[in-house]
Subunit: 317 residues, 4 copies
């Protein structure tokens, strides 16, 4: 009888193990994702889309000259993820010598300037274990004062076609739910409703409505958010955009519905595919004016070796 | 006898006064310069030129889609004026919990971010005694964490016609002299040679050649520089530009030929006329490609209450 | 008729003025408090008490060699007044070249290091209008990088007799009320109960019990506190101490019972009399061990031109 | 003949390899140095010497009450190793509301506060590969905001016997040579000349004279220095001190005479033996007054998780 019991125990254990969930996604092996489609040693990823023709195509969309600002003010209303800061200390006024009695003012800023406000992520920002986009290794490229590869100074200005995918509008709400995962069907439906198609090099911007909380209920804003999941991100990235952006803090749904995964879209985009992310966009004006196609212009600071840059992008039509 | 003594005393005093040099320029009285032509309470000054038509006029100049970057990298080669810093500290990598083993990197930046690198000056930056552009008073508008008026967050993006005035080229040199004052005749001559005229709202950019020293001989770069003086600045500002920019650290000649004056053009532009200044431009590519008219695009960071912003502007043609 | 009207106007004005409460205390006129008893031009104030004899008198009190630490750890539990920080960023480990494979670590600290944690106030910290201790003027001695007079680097080490005045114990409570003003009678009673007298040069330390909240309920800790008022401070200062310290954030009762006054004891001590203040002391061990007389030892950092220093003082017996 | 040639080649290669110098010292294996003599899990190392008796023994040496300061001012004259800073930004004066017109001043300090000025090293500061004192592992105990073990907050105040070993005096010079290695014979000779012996728990302070350059020729001060080497450090550590200190920036000779080693004494002291180091001491007054035995008192800041602390220690006699 004992051996039957043991055997049954083994069967039970085996089925318990089978029940333990494998994660719904894993980072592809290095030899599957490297070298990048942009070439071995490439550091620019989707930024390589920037060509003169990209600029001309974007500029064609400018009809009235109206500029719509897409960034929040870097000020007291800012929402911060984690322990980040934007501390500004105005120095004492300095009165220069001279008969013209010239007073000078300037401020000292202490901030994770690559990762605050409306912020643009580069490829040094994220890794899978020790491996970044195009399989650069963290310990080989990181120093105390910056990354020797993949730094945001490589990016340069983006002038490209911008497409707003209004998911909230498509679903008839002002704001998607606190951790709603946007699906491929949502995106396809919204694009169809907008009569829009995506093109390579697009700045693809997803409206969740979550930005309504920014500066109003920052604790809730950063606690979780609706956004794309791995499937939708993969679908969008297959359209070969220059970036994915959204009006939430990580672009993707957070936390991810799979509790084993920590912000996997960051890896899908930044690590696996070398596609930039643009977070904390201010989309209220774009949405209220129903602008879904526009010239997108963004100038990341050329911070050598940095993981990203706060930015002040615009939509022009 | 008494009256003769008095008279002689007066003569003596007059001649003493005559011997002491009057400064060659003084800031106009408040009632002469305020309210600004843009209106009482205006904080935007020349930024008010930004209108949809300004954008359309600029965009008309874009023919090939070529983007020329006009900013230096914020990195080890930077030239700093005074004690300013751009210190970046890359944080330790954080390995997030999760089966996807996501590594995160970010940096802490400590810098006078409004006044380093290629930098854009706002109107909180300078005053005459206690009085700023449009007669805002320093003690009324300054706080430890920023200015309550005139902050750079008011600026917004600039998309306008850019004109390069190549003074060095006009004078047949690679670089003007260490403290050469650019005259009205220089400007008129260069514009004539370029067959160019200035229009209201232009981003007027002056090539001195001084930028050749940037990152090569920074001590010399910041010690002095060629640039416009009060007369040339006044002439240019009468053309109603959106900004004056140059490839030196103060736009103006430094030190000023009048030893009693401390950077007076900063007051002519920022205090008296509310015209922005743009310093440390990287003009080598623009000059070598002989691009003198272009779409100028610049996105200052929206730092609330700040005196300026480092920027990454571009010329597009 | 005219003079009667005028007279009536005067009467009306006088009665209006009489109805408005005069503040219960004002800073004495400059000619009443300057020069300081320590001499014109003196910058050290009560620190002048430090003499070899002071050290010997303190050391006499050391019987067992037991050291009781009086400072809080500068860490996550800290209570901050206002917007102050103590942000520490551990740099990435640097592996030095060499066969001995030496790894190095260090941290960047961003903090109002003169005014956080257990903190010692100097005389640059506070003024009446523009006038500091010994009538040094703020605009004459302040610069962007520190004060040219009254800096904390003048202080040097203190080794002196320390006296704990246990007011909470005297009143039979663990903690005085949220804004209880300690009176002269409280102090006299506590000293009598302790059979203690104060001597010139003493480090006088007042136990309110408010420290119980430190690290446990920081919002309440910094919102208000019990402490000495102007009368008790004046009485204590007449005993000629080297400093007044307490287990609350301002030493004095806050807010002051007179709503017109903003932390007046700061001025009584630092401005009028040049007596140092020592805030956020950790007194629980001293109190539980009933140590009321001890050698007090404190080493402020010699930060040139600073307003104060975080410190790590001890009681030794 | 071919095989002979090959054989000779092999012999040549072998002898070449043999000629390549083995380093003169290596860090002992983990099982040789861990657990520490202070016990498995111990974080305090030589700080464990602090006992009431240590204090009493030190206090016995206080005869006159004279205090001699051993730290440099944290100010413009400071010498920095590498890229370290001590940047102080005095905030704008804040005028509090209140009839007492109270002005407040404070400063923001940005600094590697554990590793600047007269500085005290803890055990998080250095490792051999991934292994610290008592074999704590860097990746197990390091976080972005500090070390979870070995932090300097564990240290507490030191009051102990201090012994100055005047090597420069022993050798009849004001200052030892730029990279002179102090030998065991030097130390024995100096102690003999001073008629002094070392006791467990001593703060052992070595005078090289190198401090003469501090604030006078900082580039030379930090470029190299005289100091103890591995042999002398080992000899001194066998006397069981609480710390080794010196008037140079690393305590030890730099660079080390063995070009393969990078500051090995840092590992001998901090990693292998858990003995603290104290750098950049100001010894001129101690030396000129010929004080070689004294009460040494030092209060490191209790910075949680930090690698060290700037300090303001004193000698009292």
């Amino acid at each position: 009888m004992k051996c039957i019991a043991l055997a049954m125990g083994a069967v039970l254990m085996a089925s318990t193990t089978a029940l333990a969930q494998a994660p719904s996604w894993t980072v592809p092996a290095e030899n599957e994702r490297c070298p990048s489609k942009w070439g071995a040693g490439d550091e620019r990823g989707s930024g390589n889309h920037m060509k003169p023709q990209t600029v001309l195509n974007a500029v064609k969309l400018i009809k009235t000259g109206e500029v719509i600002e897409l960034a929040y003010v870097l000020g007291p209303q800012m929402a911060f993820f984690g322990t980040r800061r934007f501390d500004m200390h105005m120095k004492r006024t300095f009165m220069n010598t001279g008969s013209n009695e010239r007073g000078s003012n300037e401020e000292m800023v202490l901030s994770e300037i690559g990762q605050v406000g409306t912020q643009f992520d580069g490829f040094a920002h994220q890794s899978h274990r020790n491996s970044h986009y195009n399989c650069f290794k963290t310990d080989e490229i990181s120093t105390r004062s910056g990354f020797t590869k993949l730094g945001i100074q490589n990016t340069g200005a983006f002038i490209t076609r911008g497409v707003l995918i209004d998911i909230a509008g498509f679903k008839g709400v002002e704001m998607l739910g606190d951790n709603y995962e946007i699906t491929v069907e949502d995106i396809e439906g919204a694009l169809k409703k907008q009569n829009a198609t995506l093109q390579p090099g697009d700045a693809v911007i997803i409206h969740t409505g979550w930005g309504k909380l920014y500066g109003k209920d920052n604790p809730r804003y950063v606690k979780s958010c609706p956004g794309i999941g791995v499937k939708a991100a993969t679908w969008l990235i297959a359209k070969d955009p220059i970036l994915l952006g959204s009006d939430n803090w990580p672009v993707e749904v957070a936390p991810n519905p799979d509790p084993q995964l920590s912000l996997p879209v960051h890896q899908v985009a930044l690590v696996v595919n070398g596609v930039h992310l643009l977070e904390n966009l201010k989309l209220d004006e774009l949405v209220s004016k129903q602008v879904t196609e526009f010239a997108f212009i963004m100038q990341p600071l050329k911070i050598q070796g940095a993981t990203g840059s706060t930015v002040s992008p615009i939509a022009v039509r």
